[in-house]
């Protein structure tokens, strides 16, 4: 394991300036209700504007509508969007991982069908991994696809599916080959692309603890999925899925969620005496963000160097999401106010939202316990 320090090049800094100008014009500070990092609102018009600048699917090949940019370029765009609290929800999953998976494991027909639309900011994806009886033990998924003429018949249920009610497509891990007695459950799984409007597919809300609609249950009743929607080789989905999770981990979305809240605290206290304790807290947060950012940026450089830094990104995600929770806890201690989502203070509204959604930060995309298990095996030189 090695994180190599790196800085942005002059081209990358120019991109950063361009993104800041765009955000300053589109979402002037104080004029918009910022989101909490990647949990930001879905806003198709905003996704489209970003896409017009080439900032959605930017690391995908030009041939398929992308911009042939690097993982570091994407890091630069994404960190600015997230710290600004920009509404990136609609294209988020497609941009971060699904586009990469289709490009890496799909065929040309699939690339042609999906990638240009992703890069235009016109396709929102949901991810189908967890099931009622399958969460951290992901290889135990039991949603199954049975062979049929020219395709597969899918039956089963996926849960915790973020945004399925707002998105267009679903990338789903399911069992295409029955598990034999004593067989390896990592074999026989496949990734299927499924139109969320397909007949037989039902989407129902699983309300968040505060009543918000974010999660869904997606059930399949004899849903037909054509062969051309299988990504890569049928039965080899586990390895593809593991690769996909490497893209999910280690990026700025894992340590920037409370940033817009902290920034707003500073905006609302400008010109007042914050007191020593608040100043020290700002010091701790700023220093940690600086160091976390350098680690996370070095993961992107490793990806650009052709490496698959899965241990590194697990370590960053585990540490980054715990840091997010620590910030929320310290802010609550600091402000010592009764919180409400209806507060007149934007900072207080954001902090209330942080408190309510914070526990999810160390769960989504793999719990920190699972990440520790992955990282620990890596530290001991064992296969993950």
């Amino acid at each position: 394991m090695r994180f190599t320090p790196t800085e942005l090049t002059s081209d990358e800094l120019a991109l950063q300036a361009e993104v800041r100008d765009f955000l300053g014009a589109e979402l002037p500070p104080g004029s918009h209700e910022p989101g909490l990092g990647m949990s930001a609102r879905h806003d198709k018009a905003f996704s489209k504007k970003m896409a017009e600048h080439g900032w959605v699917g930017m690391a995908l090949p030009k041939e398929w509508g992308g911009s042939d940019k690097t993982a570091v370029d994407r890091f630069v765009v994404v960190e600015e969007m997230l710290r600004w609290g920009a509404p990136v929800g609609y294209h988020w999953v497609a941009d971060r991982q699904t586009g990469n998976i289709i490009n890496k494991f799909g065929d040309d027909e699939q690339r042609e069908r999906f990638l240009p639309a992703i890069c235009r900011g016109e396709l929102g994806f949901s991810i189908g991994m967890s099931e009622p009886d399958s969460g951290s033990d992901l290889a135990s998924v039991s949603t199954r696809a049975d062979r049929d003429d020219g395709g597969w018949i899918v039956n089963g249920t996926k849960i915790w599916t973020s945004g399925a009610h707002q998105n267009d497509w679903f990338i789903c891990l399911l069992r295409t080959h029955p598990l034999e007695e004593g067989g390896n459950k990592r074999e026989g799984l496949s990734q299927l692309l499924i139109d969320l409007e397909t007949p037989g597919l039902d989407i129902g809300p699983i309300p968040f603890l505060n009543g918000e609609h974010h999660f869904n249950e997606v059930s399949f009743n004899d849903v037909f999925v054509p062969d051309e929607n299988v990504v890569g080789q049928a039965g080899m989905g586990w390895n593809q899925n593991t690769t996909e999770m490497a893209y999910e981990r280690g990026g700025p979305d894992r340590w920037l969620s409370p940033f817009s809240t902290v920034e707003q605290l500073l905006r609302e206290t400008q010109g007042t005496d914050l007191g020593d304790r608040a100043v020290e807290l700002f010091g701790e947060m700023t220093a940690r963000w600086w160091a976390m950012r350098n680690l996370s940026l070095s993961v992107s450089r490793l990806i650009d160097a052709g490496e698959a830094p899965s241990i590194e990104s697990s370590l960053v995600k585990e540490m980054g999401t715990r840091f997010e929770i620590e910030i929320i806890e310290k802010l609550v201690e600091l402000v010592d106010d009764e919180l409400t989502l209806e507060s007149e203070s934007l900072f207080q509204r954001l902090l209330a939202q942080c408190v309510l959604t914070g526990p999810g930060n160390t769960i989504r995309g793999g719990t920190i316990e699972i990440l520790r298990s992955v990282a620990s095996k890596g530290l001991q030189g064992l296969p993950a």
Partner: protein, 348 residues
């Protein structure tokens, strides 16, 4: 901006051969390790980043920080930072002669009182002076003057750090010294930042070594019929310690690279704060994973943990640096906060 592998290899080999468990133990019992220092000085490493004109090796600050990282990794019981990166830098920048032996500095304890008289004499007391009793010269910066004063002129009260390394009290009463006006950029503040940077480099090495030691110990130690590293509760300590090793190494490397380019106050302040907190967490995790064995003198964990507890408070603890970084961040205002996180000292 890289360090020649040869430096890493040579310094690693030297420290691995000389800084054995028993040699570090003996250094503590004897208050020093002259043989290790001689071997280190022989290579020229103490002065690696000082200009050749001043008697140094003409290397870069990054070269020196890499040697310090390795000194931390091997718990080298010698004044690796003081002689070159700190005291040597002060003397060489001011055009004062570098002695052949050890140079140390007054790290700036709150109780210090030191004055450089108009007649070029030094009076006062410096506390917690690293390796004071072994030094030939004490380099001082005070009121825009740099002084090089012979330690032989001091009354010395011996004290030790938490790691059992000399941290002496030196008192001077009108001692004759070489004194010159401090050049631009050579200030007590600059020395404090350099001191903090030196500690961050040492800490990065020590946390990495401590974390590796803990992985190997927990893979060997068996309880309930299997290595304790197989237990998730223990794995958590391994993962957390390795994260703090990575975080501190990144902080040290990033701050060092910026310092090699120029003004790096934000990066150094942030790095020292991050390293201090990482040291607290990592020593706790590694000790817990070792159980009672880690509390013994016979097992080497304490070489690293006690040094980390020492370096954590030297050249600024959490309060000093969190206030520095915090007031700098607050002064940027809301719109300037992220540009500071991403851009560092360059945006100040």
């Amino acid at each position: 901006m890289t360090v020649d592998d040869l430096i890493t290899e040579t310094a690693s080999r030297l420290f691995a051969e000389t800084c054995t468990h028993s040699a570090i133990q003996d250094a503590e019992a004897n208050g020093g390790a002259p043989a290790i220092w001689d071997a280190f000085a022989e290579t020229g490493f103490p002065w690696i980043s000082l200009p050749e004109s001043a008697g140094g090796s003409g290397g870069t600050l990054l070269d020196a920080l890499e040697v310090l990282r390795l000194a931390g990794y091997y718990a080298a019981p010698i004044p690796a930072a003081e002689t070159g990166v700190l005291g040597g830098w002060l003397l060489a920048s001011a055009g004062l002669d570098l002695p052949e032996g050890i140079v140390t500095i007054a790290p700036g304890s709150k109780q210090d009182w030191l004055s450089i008289g108009a007649d070029g004499s030094v009076s006062g007391t410096a506390h917690m002076v690293p390796w004071g009793r072994h030094a030939e010269r004490l380099a001082i910066i005070s009121n825009d003057k740099v002084a090089s004063v012979p330690v032989s002129a001091a009354t010395i009260a011996q004290q030790s750090s938490l790691a059992g390394e000399p941290r002496d009290t030196l008192t001077f009463d009108g001692a004759a010294a070489d004194v010159v006006d401090a050049p631009e950029g050579v200030t007590a503040e600059a020395l404090r930042f350099r001191g903090a940077l030196s500690r961050v480099a040492l800490m990065a090495g020590a946390i990495e070594k401590m974390s590796q030691l803990t992985v190997s110990y927990t893979n060997e130690r068996e309880q309930f019929g299997r290595p304790v590293a197989k237990f998730q509760a223990v794995q958590q300590h391994l993962v957390w310690a390795s994260q703090d090793a990575a975080l501190t190494r990144m902080a040290a490397d990033s701050a060092g690279r910026q310092a090699a380019r120029g003004d790096a106050r934000f990066e150094i302040a942030a790095a020292k704060l991050v390293a201090n907190q990482a040291a607290t967490r990592a020593t706790k995790a590694c000790h817990q994973a070792h159980g009672a064995m880690g509390m013994t003198q016979e097992y080497p964990l304490h070489h690293y943990s006690r040094r980390l507890w020492t370096w954590r408070t030297e050249f600024g603890g959490e309060r000093e640096w969190s206030r520095w970084v915090g007031s700098t961040a607050v002064a940027q205002g809301a719109d300037g906060l992220y540009p500071l996180v991403a851009g560092g000292t360059a945006v100040l």
